[in-house]
């Protein structure tokens, strides 16, 4: 079976799985008790008929009064067209709300995932190379500890050290609170028309150094703590995994052969051992990027970070099913995609693998 038919089969399975996930996603929130409409009702005010009337109208607006199969079709349409409909609670379109939060999550999760992989894999290779020594056992112990620590606690301790005691970094939000006030956003650069007020195509962009520094330092001081927290949390897993697979690869016969041939040590480690040891790593890296969009619910909660995780958390607390359905759907799509990509990458890296 060639690569193409493998891909076709893999995609077909993925599509079937996606539909299963879509159905589960629908069923899960369909059977869920707890009525988001009731959140809009003050049970102490108005007459009971009035309240009922209001509830009915709200449900009609959300389409809750339709028969289940109608609702399922509407749900499928919303999901497959990637418009997702409106949030029950805010009334805004979900895709626009999501875009607002996507950047924060990509910034935080993307940064920490890449940092974690870089640190974890490079340290893992180093540790595997020097296995059995003090450096090895020390690094393994440290990464075991950071790996098993609760991530929210690491965040709290970092806040205690760096915000409360040292005052270096900020602990809440993505930028200083007062930037949101009118006229407070730092101006990094200005674009003005040259020679006169009329727009003639010749513009001058002048960088405002003061504003640029303020802008950068404001962002960095807020990003630093959550980034460190998540990186500390993720690198340990990669380190342990890399170490395990690298040690296995380094004891193989072909490594001895390579050394006997006089291949330089660096080349032995990276081209012979790491390349062969990287297969399990690829799966875990691909999955990490797949789940990236779900954000870090806990870390974003600790640092009040405006990302997907906090959005999902708020949706849970307000019974905002439509948001949760959309989020779960997107995550599932990305994870399935990541799995396919990992499978394809397997073949590129390891030519021994036969698709089929």
């Amino acid at each position: 079976m060639g690569f193409r038919s493998f891909l076709v089969k893999r995609v077909a399975i993925a599509v079937i799985m996606l539909f299963v996930v879509l159905s589960i996603n629908y069923a899960l929130f369909f059977v869920m008790p707890g009525d988001p409409a009731s959140l809009f009702i003050n049970p102490l005010r108005g007459s009971s008929e009035g309240r009922q009337e209001f509830l009915n109208r709200l449900r009609a607006r959300w389409g809750f009064d339709q028969p289940p199969e109608q609702r399922f079709l509407l749900y499928l349409k919303n999901m497959l067209s990637w418009s997702f409909g409106d949030s029950l609670i805010s009334g805004q379109s979900i895709s626009s709300e999501m875009l607002l939060r996507l950047w924060g999550t990509i910034e935080l999760m993307g940064g920490s995932t890449i940092l974690g992989i870089l640190i974890g894999v490079s340290l893992g290779v180093l540790v595997a190379y020097k296995r059995g020594g003090k450096f090895d056992s020390g690094m393994v112990t440290v990464s075991l500890i950071t790996y098993s620590l609760p991530v929210f606690w690491m965040g709290l301790v970092l806040i205690l050290i760096f915000t409360v005691n040292l005052g270096w970094f900020e602990s809440a939000g993505a930028f200083p609170y007062d930037w949101g006030l009118p006229g407070r956003w730092p101006v990094a650069y200005t674009v003005s028309a040259a020679n006169g007020t009329q727009w003639n195509g010749n513009t001058v962009m002048s960088i405002n150094p003061q504003g640029t520094i303020t802008l950068l330092s404001g962002y960095v001081s807020h990003l630093m703590l959550p980034l460190i927290t998540l990186t500390l949390f993720t690198y340990g897993g990669y380190l342990l995994l890399t170490r395990a697979t690298m040690i296995e690869a380094l004891t193989e016969d072909y490594i001895s052969t390579a050394r006997a041939k006089g291949v330089p040590e660096r080349s032995v480690i990276f081209r012979h051992a790491l390349k062969n040891a990287s297969l399990p790593l690829i799966t875990s890296v691909a999955l990490a990027f797949g789940f990236m969009i779900s954000g870090a619910i806990i870390t974003e909660g600790v640092f009040s970070w405006p990302g997907m995780g906090r959005w999902i958390f708020q949706a849970v607390t307000f019974n905002d099913y439509s948001v949760l359905q959309a989020a779960f759907y997107i995550i599932a799509v990305l994870v399935i995609l990541a799995n396919i990509i990992a499978d394809v990458l397997y073949g590129i890296i390891d030519p021994r693998i036969k698709y089929g």
């Binding site: 098993s148 929210f152 606690w153 995550i331």
Partner: protein
Amino acid sequence: MESLIPELNMGDHMSTSKRRRETHLIYNLKRFANFIGIFARSPRGLLGLIIIGVFALIAIFPSFFAAYDPVNGRSLAGWFAAPAWLKNVPPQLGGMPDRSSNDNPILNSGFENSTLTAWNFTSTDQFIHTTVVPEGNLGDHTGTVDVGFKRSEAGTAYGNVTVSLTQDFYYQDSGPPFSFRGSLVFLLNGTTTSSSHLETRVNESNRNQWPWPTYNITVSALDVPTKITMYLVGLTVNRTLPMWPLREQYTSYTPLGMYGMAMDGTYVNSFETVSLLDSNEIIVRASAGSWVDTDQTSEPIDSNGIRIGTMISDQYGAKQFPTTVFFPKQATPGWFRLGLNVTFVDKDPSKPASSDVHLDTLNMRLLGTCWGIMGTDHQGRDLWSQLMYGAGISLYVGVLSTIVAVAIGLAVGLMAGYLGRAVDEILMRICDVLLVLPGLPLLIVLVAVLGTSVNNLIILLGVLGWMGFARLVRSQVISLRERPFIEAAKAVGASKTHIMVRHILPNVMSLVYVTLATTVPGNIVAEASLGFLGFTDPNRMSWGLMLNNLNANSAFQNWWWVIPPGLCIALIAIAFILFGYALDEVLNPRLRLRR
């Protein structure tokens, strides 16, 4: 194979099976001893085992290690109190000598003696009589004081007639207390001997109840309107702290449920009196609003130094006022005076007048700013007790949910691996689907839906956590399936269930033990994470909930609150990992060569 051998003699069979059981037992004992012998050689595994043992001990007997109720034991000391031992640490090392301790400078006077030795007594008029009623009981102890006013002829009204009771006490700490709490129970024109009507008294522990209970109150009408005032005077600092502002008691007795009062005497929060009496009945119902009107800073800062917190009263004309008065920030050791004024407002000269007030439980409690081993949380609850009680939940949830997960994973892995084909396909696709759904968000949604009870948590963590182990078992089973001994079992006609349970299961059991040990940390952290997010049973204190409280109150600077819960989670998690690795090395001897 036993079933295939024809049995000739029943008794013989019995003895054979008995003997076989004995040899089996001896063999198992030997194996176990051997296992212990190998295990004991791994110091890390032993360390893990010891830590797990200590936490298990704490989890089973938390009350032996902790003296206070972790959830309901409120106001043991001031809120956000520091550990008491920090008082003795030099400030250069982070010590806090300015913290104050709890004190009870005036603890139930009780009035059980016929003479009021501790109290200063002054009266402005001859119509006043003060008697100690040793057998009376309004509060926690027997003994009341009866302050009465009696004018037997009509003709002259005497205006305000005041009795004051005072007692001085010395405050010894260099820092301010978190709050003063005074209490007084009094009864207007009632009898003090019957205490049955005081059963519904609102006490410290049920003050946070909502909705508030409704009381039916009966008092006899008062001839003379009465005011009761309680105050605190700083004698050394020469400042009067009005603990309770003037409260007027007229014939239409208005019970005050709870109210806070600002310095200027304006009401902050008042009680709704549904109906005042024409007959002898009053119904009191609490109005909405929080009961404490204070900001939650560890050291209250008010330029005047005074904040009136709450007042609580209720039943039957007898009232208790636990109240909170914050102190100026710069408190120094010195003398203070607790005083109580009872004023009879004699206004109507046309008829004779009399009124009396029974007083009891006139107490003064100081809540300190340091407490115990680990200080207190935002409600004045003991953090050490919370830490000790939290061990139980963590271990319980962590271990039981792991058992559920491993059991499901084992069953799925065995069936998928051995039965193969359609069963394998279906089970593995279910596994794939579950792996595609985001774990923590799904867990949060399900916990929010199904409720935050501990058992739900165990089941959910188990049901969402079996996939990895099922895959591991499946791959192992697939390789075992082709071994000769399975072939042999098939050849003698063993059923599929028999082969799975008797031949394959024992061969994957080493995986089970190791996975049990190494999965527990993840589930403990997951439980703590849910607790931190607030999805946990609020009536059971867990480490996650402790940190949730901390985060919700932004008390990051209280390192004695931040560090221990996470450290405990980490310790217990690492202990299980060490234990699991040691097990792995013993049970899977091939690994020993590699490390």
